[in-house]
Amino acid sequence: MTSFIIWYVLSLILAVVNLPLTWRLFKALPSRGYALSRPVGLLLWGYLFWLLTSLQLLHNNLAGQLVAFGLVIMLNLLVLRGGRAKGLWAWIKANHRLILTTEALFLVAFGLWAVVRAANPAIIGTEKPMEMAFINAILRSPTFPPNDPWLSGYAISYYYFGYVLAAMLIRVSGVDAAIGYNLMSALWFALTALGAYGVLFDLLAGNRHKEGKISGWVYAASLLAPFMLLIVSNWHGFLDILHARGLFWSQDAAGQSVSSFWQWINLKELTTAPASYSWFPLRLGGVQWWGASRVVQDFTLNGTALEVIDEFPFFTYLLSDLHPHLLAMPFVLLAVSQALNAIRGGWQGETRFWHWRLPWGLPEIAFAVLTLGGLAFMNTWDFPFYLLLIAAALVYGQYRSNGWNGRRIGEFFLLCFGLGIPAILMYFPFFLSFSSQAGGILPSLAFFTQGHYFWIMFGPLLLPLFAGLLAHFFERPQARAVKPAFLITLGLFLFLFVFSWSLAFIGTKLPTLNQLFLGLQGATPGESPLWQALLNRLKAPGTWITLFLLSFLALNALLGEHCSQAEEPESAHTEKSTHTFVLFLLILGLLLTLAPEFVYLRDNFGTRMNTIFKFYFQAWILWSLAGSYMLVQLIGSATKTKLWEKLFPFGMFLLGMIAMYLGLYRDDAVFQRFNQNLGALGSSPLDYIVLGIFALAMIWFIFELVSRRWKMALAVICICGIAMGLVYPVVALWNKTGGIPSADQLTLDGTQYYKAIWPDQMQAVEWLKQAPLGVMVEAVADTGGSYTTYASVSTFSGMPTVLGWIGHEAQWRGGYLEMGSRQNDIRTLYSTHDWQEAKAILDKYQIKYVYVGDLEIRTYALDESKFQEHLQLVFNSPGARIYAYAAGQ
């Protein structure tokens, strides 16, 4: 609790200190970027600290951080010069409602997710140890680039800026890193919620001013964005409970359960019938909450299924691996807000570079460059997407001022370079030490997302998007641009198809690429892979059709919006720019989902796994913002509802809550009566409650249609889609946290599990944390150790070990070159009887600490006597020993 309070106060200080700068930068936004003041502060503080430490001007310690924070304070004080302090104070007084709402949202989100983390805090499994290792290594490194915790003598080769921010917060708050790890997840959850709230608030408030005041409805409606972004999930959870309830299964003649529906859906773990029926997934041998991140499956040309990652924010936070895509989220929303600020004219000013005169203010340009570079350093994949968005927003501003002509296209490319290159240069020290695993672009010949996978994945977001676009299409016939929208969409698809197939064709013809390329695609010898791939796609065109329609409707709205050349008032201008911006978000998301249908980035895996993961995740962010705006517009523009009409959603909610209670309740007769070993549908009262929700939704929809309130009818469909997307959070949260733990079971300490299982090892870790920095050595798994508890001593102590998780090192560095013979050398070191041989290895890697614990004994034919004889025993406990070695110098 103390740690939580410290972090809360710390975040509050960040918000207050950085308010002047944020207020100055986001001058065209109604919220003046208030919700973003924390990410703004973190970015600036982190950048200054990282840069000055990389340039050896600061030490990587608390004092260095405080100096950097002092610079941030000075910058903010400079902003307040020239009477701005009074302006800011007046704004605060006038917008206290926004400030209170935002702060309340922050506290609730931070507290909520801290409790979730406290219910399952262990830093174990998946890639949490890797992230913990990065954070601890950064905390221990005297300077930057930080030591690679799992490859001594090398710097981290990964986009590690997010971990620098985590380490900074952990250090300045004085909490243990393993507690800070979980608080970091909760804080980022809250920052993301705040960022999304801010974006939607600025979108809505721009249109809904009443005599200079923002309507109260906007404050509440803006909550939809964080809800859609962070809570609403894909439809896997909904399908999971249908599957668990035994729907769509029948018995064949042999008495076997068969289902053409589930065979067609073909979701992992859902292709076989459940052992017993219940409204809560209880299947054995699977991790229920995991399946939603593996909805999409790719198939090679010979039909082999390949794993594809399709995370979405709720899953990401539930998993709580502090992966770059999670760490970048608040800054992605910062970039989105900067683009919105640009499109609203907030960048207006003048900046001169030699003889060039730019129509934008220098602070805005500089901060955009800082943000984009930060994204490149935090999650490199995001960099180009948001560069495009900001450039597009600026070009739109130019178009508004100077009209459309060919120069705008030139300006767009110039802006991409003009912002992109300085962004890279600002973080140049990072790029010097970074070796990416990305090895170019490959045509996605065999791999594509089947339509039903795409809809299961994005359904809750696609519904509001389509609803909003359809409403626009039918409501505003004068603002249609059917022909150009169709042609551009067709051109885009054709271009991508030709590009991809041409690449593939070249790949099949070049002898050096042929084998590799066709091997990856699983081509059958003797058959034309290009033709075979095309046929496969035409058999399952769902995603293409969906994206084609979406593209057409979005382009129609975008182009149609600007057909009219008539003079328009300022408010209409704001509204138009808002709509345009939302369409930009939608189109960017569309491009992110369309591109991997044709090409993907080549990495160590050779599949679309990472491309889909990173692209779809950003698409989710963009579409959740656009979708929530469209849904609010849809509901907001519908004619006023009568009080009794509100009974439909209320009834659905009430029934949903009852169903949730009965579905999740476990320990006594309630569960047995309502939700265990159920028979056919209708055998349990719970069945009727669930069907009641469905029936209410149907009645509501029909009622709206009959009332000719078709926009509201569309909204009902969207609400149902969202409700389906809410099944996963309920089921998965319950599943991951094991129900609601009692207060004394809650802890944020991520090492609690280790302390219980390996207390001696954790004592050794504590000893190492206090010991002088030096290379350590511990056991390496024969299989590489990824996702296991190998390398956990270096993970939690921050001491660089000779070798950690081999597979991950290979991914980060694009190969095994740097690892050399380390794995064998470590084996020799532990098992040899020859001291001179061991000594040569100790000298070779400049090892200072030799750790001997449970894993070392189990992994190697350990000969400890040579260490006992020649090394200094500096830590000794029954289950763990540390020997110190000092090489002669």
């Binding site: 310690n61 004092a63 100096v67 100790l842 200072k848 004889e869 110190a884 000092a886 002669g888």
Partner: protein, 575 residues
Amino acid sequence: MKETATISHTKGLSDTQIQLSMLAIFLLGLCLRLTSLASIPFSAGEAQAAWQALLVARDLPVETAVNAAYQGLTASTFALMQANAFWARFWPAMAGASLALIPLFWRRRLSPFLTLGIAFALALDPILFILSRQAGNAIFVLAGLVWALSFFIAGKPVGVGVALAVALLGGPWAWAVLLLLLIALGIAYLINKAALNEFASALLNVCPLRKSPAKFALSFVLTLLLLATSFGLDPAGISGIAGGLSAFLQEGFLNSQFPAWTPIYRWAAYSICPLILSIVATVHAWRDGAKAKKALSLLTMFLLLGAVLFANLGTGGLAFVQLPIWILALSEIERLVKSTSDQPRVSLYVFIFSLVLCVFLAISLKSFLNAFPGTLAFTQQGLAFGLGLVLLGLVYLFTGLGWSFQAAGRGAALALTLVLLVSSLSLTLSSTVNKAKQAALIWSDSPILDSADEISKVLHEYERLNTFEPETASVAILDPHYSGYAWIFRDFGRVDLPLALPESQSPEIILSHPDWQLKPDQPYRGMDLVASRQIAWDTLTPMDLVKGVFTQTFTTNPNMAIFWIREDLFTGANP
């Protein structure tokens, strides 16, 4: 203000005389501080600070300075001069001595007596004196803050910038004082908002920074950068700008390793004179409603409370109390001196007689406390002391009854004040005695490295008798608790602090924990020694504490170590 200024011009010395007197006091304070500066044993903390400065001077990697002002000045001095104990303590001594010049800025607002009295007190107060003879103490913070305030009053923005930067770089106490001031302001705001606003606006009106903020900012930033980087010797030393804040956040709120009463005890034992006089002054101030003195007494209490609350930051915090307490004490002395007696001759006789009795009391008290309880000497000395006290009381009583209580009181009070002042001065002077350990033991926050001399002697003997050459020899300090000895071995070719003995290299000297075991193939001969020593505050009885006030001696805890010398160096005679 005008009134006091007039007094100084009509009754007091001329301005030139005051300036010359203050210069003389400053020189006296400086000379005394520099006396035997190098011979007092280093504490582990001091040695660590000096060693860090030396590493900077040698262009070797260092940790972030906690006291960047000390490190910056000392490192550059080491680079220019020789790295020795004198230069390691030179700048704190200078900073401490410079305090005596502060009243120069206030002389037009104070009487000559107070001006010179404060100068004298700041120059020779035992606490300020001892603390300013330690490497890396809080003296830079005190000096910086007081100089900054003085420059502020004098309207010198550059001076304010430089002094404030020095204070900020002077260690964690700068931030503790800042926090205390903020809390004090908060309390003042709650108690009397209007008065505080009035004070703030008055302060803003005279603020020299408003007229030339650029000068202030430039001097402040430049000083920060120059000192933190040790005048360019250590560019990464910029982190040291927040080194004090970092230490304050990490250590300031932790419990001290010593019992909570120790700061108060140490302070009281070394501040008897100003403490007694300031209590009297405070009583008078609250009785008479003297606002300035009331505020001063509150400030003193607040700073004392701060020194106790942040005791984990070290004894340095007590230095901040000395300025306000001496102002209060001197104002009381001034009142006493200036008060007119109805029978001056009687006062004089009482003064002389009381003085003799006080001297007798002081001598008999020391003998009484040094005697073992229950012995004849103890009884005799106790009796003598008691009789002395009775006699002093009778002198006052009979003089009062026979002539005048006012005259008797004035004479006795002046005698007592004089004795207290002398006792204060004696504490100051006794700390300059060559190799004086007691003051160092009492006022150090870390153990005293009192085997340094012994080790130096042994090594010197080896150097004389054998083939041992320190310049090319290497030392391994195997126990991190004795890392301060790196400074003691600074003239050796190489000093390492490894956890294990280097495998392929055998250093000539090893300093290890007594538990450390030699391997059979390691050819060394060892010598047990007391590596460091610290007062056993936890075990002292109330009687020990009472005795300690007068005798300045306390029981200490020794920390043992083994001093190993490689066997092949024993080619000649063994000392």
